[in-house]
Amino acid sequence: MVNKTVASAADAVADIYDGATILIGGFGEAGSPIELIHALIDQGAKDLTVVSNNTGSGQVGLAALIANRQVRKMICSFPKSANSVVFPELYTRGEIELELVPQGTLAERIRCGGAGIPAFYTPTSVNTPLAEGKEIRHFNGNPYVMEYAIRGDFALVKSLKADRYGNLVYHKTARNFNPVMCTAATTTIVQAKHLVEVGSLDPETVITPGIFVQRVLEVTHPMEESVLVAENRRYPWNR
């Protein structure tokens, strides 16, 4: 029987190892798998490379993972945003690495990682500092920069619905990087708001087919990052 469900967040992330590359979905708080990230903080794997569009806000979720000094390097397009304090501080002190990638290039590098394409040429960033040191090749007279695919050892993803096969449906703009990240990791771990019966998702509307997913955890009431930040909460939980 195909059953990808796991019983707890701790079980879901138990085998994440030191030095792993982890793709973490979300654009700001939308689509960020906060319960899985907190479980990873409890689990304690360190020396991680994290691929995510932002670096989290306040002292919860991804920002808390960074604050807990488990992340050696961030690969992202926009490492600062409103309420983002942890990463800027560590970066300014030279205590965390940053690979800055244009947002579309980041998405395509992950897509290619899932699609078995090792590298590609893109017009984005040509003639800018972000293309320095990279191969430039001309097609039809125009310059393009070569970018390598990204793959993760693990992906942490948030969806609205999932079934035990791992088929996923997302919620509005919380979809963002999650579907491509599912395809590009050896082990994709999903937290879904609703675990539904196999057969109840309309096959025409499944966004991520279950083949791309290894583990599914139901988190019925996910926390809202912006609410936690407004309350000045910190993970591990402060009082």
């Binding site: 397009s77 947002q103 579309g104 998405a107 703009t173 990052e225």
Partner: protein
Amino acid sequence: MEQVKKGWEMAEVAQKVAADIPDASYVNLGIGIPEMVAGFVPEGRELIYHTENGLLGMGPTPVPGHEDPELINAGKKCVTAIPGASFFHHADSFMMIRGGHIDYCVLGAFQVSQEGDLANWSTGETNAIPAVGGAMDLVAGVKNIFVITQHTTKTGEPKIVQQCTYPLTGKQVVTRIYTNYAIIDIRDKKLYIRELAPGIEMEFLQQVTGAPLHQD
């Protein structure tokens, strides 16, 4: 000395931009001043707004109490989805951008060169946290790149220059500049005045512009 009103308010500039975007265009608006453009679309025109975090058919700010933290724009502010909207993932979103499917993009700027080079992501300061987002993809792929900006910096330095001194977002990408003083086209690596704001003389405009201005 009596102060005479010189130039446009930025809201008026946004109105000028909106007037120049044709009916039925697909449009991406940058964060900040460019967002004002959506408020001035002339009656009878239908524009479809793209936001790079995965929504085509972005609508206005929700009424208080109806915000959804999972329905946001590229600036991570809550928005709405119009009837006929669609959601998609990031790779598809940038396929729309890089693949040339978006008709117009309106962006802010630190500097624009006379050749249309744009610098709008980094001032190159050593202590700054570099952040680029989707700007480089937008200028690489969108057909028409409009810049909306104050004509000069807060200290009065020209933002329209011969060559950008800040790190580039893209080379030869801007097609038109809208400022509080003028609307300027960029063609054949030269600046052409399209419209002067009220009270702005040609001589004054040249003084506050860092590259030669031309008239048709």
